[in-house]
């Protein structure tokens, strides 16, 4: 029973563009020059005698010289005094935290090599987001400063201290302000250090400003509840979720924690119990969250408020003016409102706009739905974003007026991330003394007089409190690599306090945090966190003047309404731009567009057609009097008349990897009613030049094969087997090979397509664990990315309720707003009858008795036959020695950065094929541990890197020979199907059908 739905990976495939058809003919981007060699001229070429002799002579000489080379002497240098806890070859784990998430840092011989979620933590405890997994690379970043600087010259810390203290005293005695500008700081010890600092210098103040601001929510909650906080959301308790432009599974607040909760109502366990939540998304650009929604309605940014007004009217029966006029949205809202009301107490509405009025209206709606308490928690509120756009405005005004004597920048880079960077520069020039704590000479730091570089979180003592009542520790896993000093230590020194930072943090914990918890400092170092909050919040009622709010919304919407509207959004990898120099994240394909190493202007294909922009075209986007030229990307699902541009790109002073990657879109933002707005009226015009984006989406085509199985929740309830295609294949199969027993282990994996949100954390985790090289933009364009695990994104299209099933019909589609998306993680399927194994002429890839497809790199000599023969296109060829080649200078080509490599995995050399090994180093280590402990391997002992990074629990790994293992249970699920089962390669990875909770089916 084949699905009649048509999937396509990109518009190139849909339209069968000539370039796409051409590039699909061959397995590799460049044709193999067989013809050139075999044609007449090739074969009849005669090497001149002298050339032949020259070559022969050189060859002999080279071989002789090479043979003369003595075996290098390897030194073995043991510790002089070995730390008691270190055994060379065995990893140590330390509890730490990043962005407030409690983590375990894995170190080998004293160097951190990877991070994983702390499984015992409160909140996000399974999986991490991509930026967290990639953060280890930042420790080994060569672009960081190695010494403190004054005026661009390296100085001693003592010199810096005396300069700073003199400047501070001067400012205080002159009655001028001392301002510390930072992003949100929720670390209790940093705040304590700042408090000491501000006590010492009475004119000092602390301004918090976030590049991506949530001031709107804070202000709205202040107005409606009297609590100026960002609440925390518990999507696990929500059965109906309506999101208006909030990418809550991705970049909005704590997306990864939301994912973990949200998926609990949608994964295979929930479906097994016959339960699945509903998710309706209204948005302009296709976000990752929108791609996971059951119903997605494309709207313009100016319609966000109108949609919410209509929704409010439907829910309450009131008739506020200014509801949406969008026909599709009106229909959807009618249905959605009923669902929301029916699920009162377990339904919630979230909105992404950084606007006080919109957020106030959302508060009113959620009060009606009874979402406060179980779902929206205002008691154990989030402390991740406390920045105030207004406070930063005041700082700029004061600075421009010459009232600021000293400005200190901590985690803050306004010259890059503030929409009017000239204003910041002008303000800085009026400040007597300015200093940045940045770890590199970034855009702001180079404008300041001095830089006091801070170490990364892996080198510091500290803590965080991402949520009220939750405190996580940061403990160093390595000594500071460069001559850096913690910010807290610097502030203490300048405040005349010589307390060591360790003592300071410890003391702060013991007196302020641990009191009454019954835990000691040592417990915290071992457990990593303490939670003093409650499990759910109490109910709140919003006091909103709905009519006033609605009219304000309508007024604001008019300002940005236009033929073309711009929507700026935070990118998944770069975030606000702070991770721009992390090569892992630059090469992580965007969850939707699959673009790497660039930002772009996303346009609806029909809209692009109207503009006359084709493939590889560029457009100029103009908004708020600023304009930037960007490559155009035809994005199905993008609302007509809108353009979406990612923030976080276009940095100029971040380091070798991130400099001049993409364009800075911050200048297109604006300040309205005291909050930074990311939507604007815009114009888009075709630009003259062309630019090829490095996109991975069309690299490995599916050749029209039926590899996605999708059903609806209603059908699933009728028949759990629906659309899985399990019983379609009844013909007799024949084996070329003899059957063999697998009595030991049989390692298999189950992937739940319904749980996978496509975030890409697994891709980065796999790269970090398996030393997968980053290849750079040019090589990605040549289809040479090395990711062992990719997430394929498939579109299907519906228009006016009809599904398009034939290619020629799809060509007639007028409206590309209505697409649905399936994300499919694709990795080596470890086929029992692997096609790659039979074609390898040197037996470099062979099967193991445990069901794995082994790849012996030292045996491979690079014929690439295996890649040609792989039906899943998961084999990767090393075209270069990426870790030792000056052409790839932005990343691993230095001994310091190479310290990030996992010592248990070989780095592959040029000319060698590689692919997912199913983290065989982890399997072997897990088995050995069991043997040493004289027991069997327990289910859950061995975790794949991708699995450990997945907060949606979409990847389940284990032993199929153990009937009680999680994976065996998952694979007995009715939804399980095997990709390309019909070609009988017998893959060891089972997929579970995508289930969409749509109403019409």
């Amino acid at each position: 029973m084949d699905s009649n739905k048509k999937y396509w990976k990109g518009l190139e495939e849909l339209n069968q563009t000539p370039a796409f058809v051409e590039s699909n003919k061959g397995e590799f981007a460049e044709p193999i020059p067989v013809e050139d060699v075999l044609n007449e001229a090739g074969l009849s070429t005669r090497a001149p005698r002298r050339d032949f002799l020259k070559a022969l002579g050189f060859g002999l000489g080279a071989v002789t010289l090479a043979a003369c080379n003595r075996t290098p002497v390897h030194k073995a240098v043991p510790y002089v005094i070995k730390p008691e806890e270190i055994t060379p070859g065995i990893p140590n784990f330390y509890a730490s935290s990043f962005n407030g998430q409690s983590l375990l840092v894995r170190t080998r011989e004293g160097r951190p090599i990877s991070v994983e979620a702390n499984p015992n933590a409160v909140g996000l405890n399974q999986g991490t987001d991509a930026t967290t997994v990639a953060s280890v690379l930042d420790l080994y970043d060569m672009s960081k400063l190695q010494n403190p600087q004054i005026g661009g010259k390296d100085v001693e810390w003592s010199k810096l201290d005396s300069t700073v203290i003199a400047a501070l005293n001067k400012a205080v005695s002159g009655g001028k302000q001392v301002v510390l500008v930072s992003d949100t700081i929720n670390s209790p010890s940093t705040l304590a250090a700042i408090a000491r600092f501000t006590t010492k210098y009475p004119t000092a103040s602390h301004v918090q400003v976030d590049a991506i601001s949530y001031s709107g929510i804070i202000e709205a909650n202040k107005n409606t509840f009297g609590k100026a906080v960002v609440p925390s959301y518990h999507f696990a308790n929500a059965q109906v979720v309506v999101s208006v432009a909030a990418d809550f599974l991705g970049t909005w607040l704590s997306g990864e924690e939301h994912t973990q909760d949200y998926i609990k109502n949608r994964d295979h366990k929930s479906l097994k119990n016959g339960k699945m939540s509903r998710h309706i998304q209204f948005e302009s650009g296709l976000s990752m969250t929108g791609s996971n929604a059951d119903v997605r309605i494309a709207i313009k940014p100016s319609e966000e408020g109108a949609v919410l007004i209509s929704l409010y009217n439907e829910i309450t029966g009131q008739a506020l003016a200014g509801g949406t006029t969008n026909a599709k949205a009106q229909v959807a809202i009618k249905l959605v409102a009923k669902e929301l009301v029916n699920a009162k107490g377990s339904s919630v509405v979230v909105a992404g706009a950084n606007d006080v009025n919109i957020q106030s209206l959302v508060n009113a709606i959620n009060t009606q739905l009874g979402a406060y308490g179980a779902i929206i928690d205002l008691d154990n509120y989030s402390k991740q974003y406390q920045g105030s756009d207004l406070a930063f405005q005041q700082f700029l005004t004061a600075a421009k007026a010459g009232q600021v004597g000293v400005a200190l920048f901590l985690n803050s880079n306004p010259v890059y991330s503030y929409f009017k960077s000239e204003d910041v520069k002008a303000a800085l020039s009026k400040v007597d003394f300015s200093l940045s704590f940045s770890d590199r000479a970034d855009e702001t730091a180079t404008e300041t007089k001095a830089i006091a570089p801070r170490p990364t979180y892996l080198e510091t003592w500290g803590d965080a409190s991402a949520k009220e009542g939750l405190f996580t520790i940061i403990q160093p896993t390595i000594n500071p690599v460069f001559n850096t000093r913690q910010v807290e230590q610097s502030l203490l020194v300048w405040a005349g306090d010589n307390t060591n930072i360790y003592d300071f943090v410890k003391q702060n914990w013991e007196t302020n945090i641990l009191a009454g918890t019954g835990k000691t400092w040592k417990d915290i170092l071992q457990q990593g966190f303490v939670y003093k909050g409650t499990s759910t919040g109490s109910a709140y009622l919003a006091q909103v003047d709905v009519a006033a709010v609605a009219s304000a919304i309508v007024a604001e919407a008019k300002k940005i309404a236009g033929d073309v509207e711009l929507k700026l959004y935070e990118s998944t990898g770069m975030r606000d731009g702070r991770y721009a120099n992390n090569a892992y994240l630059q090469e992580l394909p965007d969850p939707i567009s699959k673009v790497t190493w660039d930002n772009y202007a996303a346009l609806n294909p029909k809209f692009a057609e109207q503009l006359g922009v084709g493939e590889n075209g560029t457009v100029t986007v103009e908004a708020n009097g600023q304009s930037i030229t960007l490559p155009a990307l035809m994005q199905p699902g993008q609302a007509m008349g809108t353009v979406s541009v990612a923030l976080g790109y276009g940095r100029t002073k971040v380091g070798k990897a991130g400099n001049k990657v993409g364009q800075n879109a911050y200048p297109l933002a604006s300040l309205v009613n005291g909050t930074v707005q990311l939507s604007a009226k815009a114009t888009v015009s075709k630009a003259s030049n062309t630019y090829e984006l490095a996109q991975t989406q069309t690299h490995h085509t599916i050749e029209g094969r039926n590899i996605i199985r999708e059903t609806t929740f209603a059908k699933y309830l009728e028949d759990p087997n629906s659309e899985s295609g399990r019983f379609s294949d009844t013909h007799k199969t024949y084996d070329l090979w003899n059957k063999f027993e697998q009595p030991g282990h049989k390692w298999v994996m189950a992937i739940d397509l319904n749980a996978c949100t496509g975030c890409g954390a697994c891709i980065v985790a796999c790269s970090v664990e398996n030393n997968v090289p980053v290849v750079g933009r040019d090589e990605v364009r040549r289809r040479r990315e090395m990711h062992w695990l990719r997430i394929d994104r498939y579109y299907t299209i519906e228009e006016n309720g009809t599904k398009f099933t034939e290619e020629k019909e799809i060509a007639n589609v007028q409206d590309f707003e209505n697409v649905t998306v399936v994300h499919q993680p694709m990795l080596c399927q470890h086929c029992e009858h692997a096609p790659c194994e039979t074609v390898c002429p040197v037996l470099a890839t062979v099967h193991s008795s445990e069901g794995l497809n082994h790849m012996a790199y030292n045996r491979c000599f690079g014929t690439r036959y295996c890649a040609n023969n792989c039906p899943y296109k998961v084999r990767r060829f090393n075209w270069f020695n990426y870790w030792n080649d000056s052409r790839f200078d932005n990343y691993l080509n230095n001994e310091f950065t190479q310290l990030v490599l996992n010592p248990d995995v070989t780095t592959r050399s040029r000319g060698v094929m590689e692919k997912c090994s199913m983290c065989i180093q982890r399997i072997q280590a897990g088995k050995l541990q069991a043997k040493i402990e004289n027991r069997k391997v327990k289910d859950g002992d061995i975790q794949m890197a991708c699995q450990a990074a997945c907060s949606a629990n979409a990847i389940i790994f284990g032993d199929a020979n153990d009937p009680e293992s999680e994976v065996s249970k998952a694979l007995r699920n009715e939804r399980v199907y095997y990709v390309l089962e019909e070609i009988n390669v017998q893959p060891n990875i089972g997929y579970m059908t995508k289930v969409r909770n749509t109403l019409e089916a």
Partner: protein
Amino acid sequence: MRNISSVLGRLAKSVSVSLVLLFAVTLTSHAQDLKEGASLFKANCTACHKIDKKLTGPALAGMTERHSEEWLIKWIHNSKLMVDQGDPVAVALFEEYNKLLMPAFTQFSDDQIKNIIAYVQDEEVKMAQAASAPAGGAAGGAASDDASSFMLIGMAALLLLAIGVIVVLNRVTRTLEKVIANNQTAIEAARLRNEAHEESRGLKFAQKFLKNKKLVGFTALLVVVLLSVVGWQGMWNIGVHEGYKPVQPIKFSHQIHAGVNQIECQYCHGGAFKSKNASIPSANVCMNCHNTITASDHYNGDVSPEILKLYRAVDWDPDTRTYGDNPRPIEWVRIHNLPDFAYFNHSQHVVVAGVECQTCHGPIETMEEVYQYSQLTMKWCIDCHKTTEVNADNKYYDQLIEAHEKLKKGEKMTAAMIGGLECGKCHY
């Protein structure tokens, strides 16, 4: 030469030792049991005391002069009591040695302690004798002279002998030259005759050989085969460093440590039982013993120069018995070099399979200097995996053994049978 001097040296030593012994025995007034004293001393005291040097505790030489026998017995029985009671001498000692108390030896009888004291006195006298002998030289005369004077005399004698030989040989050459000059013509004739004969014989053989085409062919074939075999062997051994014995920065002897002293491998190479690396012990492990063991017996009371290198590495001053803050790691030369793409885990083999260290590393306990005993080639690994039976006691293997019994009853289950030959087990 060296032989003679060492023989003479040894002779001199034994003579002097026997003389001293004789002298010493007559000196000891008490009829104490020196043997018992010696064994007790070595078993209980040497960890902290030396006779002529300060260690953790004071040097014992002259203790009978400093303290009465009664006091010593009391002290050894229970030093803490004495300090607690406020004995001024005891308190002073306690203060001098960083408030470290000597353990109480209540199990000793008075006589046993007396024996120890007697032994210490005896040793003290011997040392004094040994020290004074070379300087004075009066007591023993020529017989008690040390090796160096013997060597001097021996060398002089040899020099004389050599001069004699040179003179005699000169005479002989001169006589022979005279004889040659007298018979010049006769010799010339004989030489010519000989040459002609030789030439014709060689020529004849070559001609004969070249005529025999079969023989030539055969020989050529033989040479080719020989070269190929040598070449083949040579090629196979590229990168095989069997017997590799680099010079190490410290002349560490496994023969002394593992052989003579029977120290367990695990004491230093604990990693082999836990991790993939056997790991060279860190210098602090060496210092566990070597802060007292200096091998000074073999170096005239000085610390062994090799142990001094260790002290330099950890920055330990043996005189003040303190660590400095300038340690320098020891750069050993790695002997067993597996390529990076081969994964080998010691603990799997040592703990799980129960393989003896010697199986791969050879008779390590007899090696003065360690060398690479095994080939460390893949063939060598695989050969062993094919023949080695899996350790059936381990519960991990239960399932596999059960399956094996079903499939191949009676045959032993080798590592190879459960996947020990699969690429991905060692290459990833």
